[in-house]
Symmetry: C2
Subunit: 499 residues, 2 copies
Amino acid sequence: MTAAGGTPPLSGGSGGPAALRPLLDETLDALAAGARLRGGPVPPGGPAELAREVDRVLTGEGPDRHALRRLTELLAYGAADPADPACAAHLHCPPLAVAVAADLAVSALNPSQDSWDQAPAATALETALLAELAALVGFPPAAAAGVLTSGGTESNLMGLMLARDRVLGGAVELDGLPPGRRPRIIASAAAHFSVQRAAALLGLGERAVRSVPVDRDQRMDGDALADALAETVWEGATPIAVVATAGTTDTGAVDPLGRCADLAERHGAWLHVDAAYGGGALLSDRLAPLLDGIARADSVALDFHKLGWQPAAAGVFLVRCEETYASLARRAVYLNPADDEQAGYPSLLGLSLRTTRRADAFKLAVTLRTLGRPGLGALVDACHDLALHAAAAVRAEPALDLHGDPLLTTVLFRYRPATDGPDAADRINAELRRRLLHTGRAVVGRTELPGTGPGRVRLKLTLLNPHTSPADIDRLLADIVRQGREVESAPGPSRAAQD
Amino acid sequence: MTAAGGTPPLSGGSGGPAALRPLLDETLDALAAGARLRGGPVPPGGPAELAREVDRVLTGEGPDRHALRRLTELLAYGAADPADPACAAHLHCPPLAVAVAADLAVSALNPSQDSWDQAPAATALETALLAELAALVGFPPAAAAGVLTSGGTESNLMGLMLARDRVLGGAVELDGLPPGRRPRIIASAAAHFSVQRAAALLGLGERAVRSVPVDRDQRMDGDALADALAETVWEGATPIAVVATAGTTDTGAVDPLGRCADLAERHGAWLHVDAAYGGGALLSDRLAPLLDGIARADSVALDFHKLGWQPAAAGVFLVRCEETYASLARRAVYLNPADDEQAGYPSLLGLSLRTTRRADAFKLAVTLRTLGRPGLGALVDACHDLALHAAAAVRAEPALDLHGDPLLTTVLFRYRPATDGPDAADRINAELRRRLLHTGRAVVGRTELPGTGPGRVRLKLTLLNPHTSPADIDRLLADIVRQGREVESAPGPSRAAQD
């Protein structure tokens, strides 16, 4: 592990690649060994069992020259591996090998996007990539601006920050704001919880978010949005932003973007489109029309660590007009002094909430260049096809109850117990999911429909693995039914997961 | 690039390691080729030249199966490589090869820390690592809590968010806040600009930050802090937080932490210690005493992508008492339903501002286990020794003017032109730095001393490469002097950087 002189080797410089080679071999061997040991989508046993194993491997006096191998094997053994067809719970994609290889180059060179002289090529690459993504959304690339983010949560925060600052003039003043300027954010009941989180972080309070009803598919109702905006004004508050969701987490529903744009415009509100999930549809000719109207947004969130097959993080925040991107403009004398900018050195510092920032644009640029938009679109279509197959299979199985037709790549359903009553159904569905997880057989999603009261628990398959086959789906559904029957016939709530 | 059936291979599953192997070989070869082509710390030529090269490589119709090789070579060619001894501008470390190899495992498996069933082992590993880091800071590990962050900027935001919410009771109310509760953040004039950014993001406004004078080394004056707190109260505002800096960006100065803790306690203010840079001293027996008193903080920011040799990001946010960590508590029915938590499934969701979150804890855990604290401490000491050597060499060179003795691993100085006047000195120092960058010979830092007016521009070496030798430093300083003379003798402001 140490070079001559005892100093451990670096990943960069002229000696970096040679120093990395044996370590990467060790890592790949350990990844393979850990996956073999796991033998399925997730290791059997519960959290306590795995935590004990982690503590056992971490314990030990002094340096351990086998730490890389031992810990990597443990990480792989203890993974919920999205590359396994039976791991289909979350918007948690299996990365493409080419994206992971590109990400290695980023780790090794460690460019940081907060100044040109820490990331000369990576700065230019990010700028070029963002222009390409702006065009994908339909924004005029010359006028648009944006940045790579840690994900939809950060992108949503940025959109709402710009909306707040446009109305409230920079910083929020905590006192003396007349009632008529009290800011409100209008979002659907199925919008991501990060909208509430952003409102709280921004000092607006979660109560500043007004929730608009959705239909059964979780799509925002346009008339209900119109009413919510009118009522907000009538109540003496200011609707500073409309958040439209393009692909809700559970159903993939896309709000009526054109109507949202009309209404936001009429009220002078910022339109932020959370396309963290649905943005992947832009890669597919078949599904792109679902997002018609997105080009009218003031800002957009995209996540290529969902439908994009990048290792986390690969979030993107885009604004249609660079001029609206004022809140973060900042001069740091040690990063972007005025005379350096005059001399032609660009700075991305004013585009991000972060200072040090990994070059997450690189893996995405390599992937787009390697596969092209059609190549990525084919993967989106493959996952959509899997969802259609899964929905048909659920519909054909009397023990399962489909919630609705898939819109993107999720399928919402539940096990239908013979036992009567919504309480029992909720308990059994939650329990069967934990049992599948505990036995290491499957990682299935679980969520709840909007509203209150029992009967809302649903299972979910989030299909993001283009290598999964219809037969894999059939096996997974059969496993769910079998597990449901077992839970139902058990004498009481199982304690299996409490090892 | 594509497996049978045309679907490109994934990094996970049983086939992942085998699919990765040839791609990683290609990546390493391209990294080596790019570094050879660069031949120094940074490529010669300016931003426009490099942007043209990036556009040239990115252009092209359709998929390119050589994209990984071509773009990686370009990324390496166009890097400011911190592993080169002449790249010493920023808190931008050269990563250890072992940390980069560990980060590959994270990319390949793609665990996401927002739910246990996306990251079973990684959840347990992060929890164990944070307990170890809490102990390093001196927090009681059983009572402390924390999370990995994207860096000091995010960690500072989190500390100030908790401070705000403790005083203002959850969300800030935008109206009706009595003057006596107007929140103020007290930080030194040399605190990182992310403190102002956080205040703006949190809705407090940048003006909520009250600046305390520093001494020549950029250390906050304890009496001045006492005065600032007293005046804040006298003015009818509430000091919600004191931010103490442990290692300023430019000089590495550490504020008097014990005195800050006393004063914060007396005023009921939250004490946040920004140890993003100086936290590395905790790894070194020699330097750790500089941070005496840090254990009395309410929250702390550490960055192991600075003194820690991790690829970005490896930020850490810690609070002394878990109970104070309430703002982010959140129930998301699709991520951490109550019955799953009752069944023993832990959730880190309420600890982070993010939802999807890469397992940045892993590379740090592997590094700590591989080298041990003494192994990392030796690297910290090596960089500190380099700074001491550099300062002595600057002092011995009549053409250079040392600002002060190094406290951690930075050296602040300037080229001393024969030409009279602070304007000329500023112009020449800024210009010589751009010339070194433009010719590809060195990446040297540039900053400005606090205050206004000319004469404040300084050069800076940030020494984070433990492989750098004293002879490397001597060569770098000689290059700076030579370049200074050239700029000074040139007829007017050079246009070199405006290619």
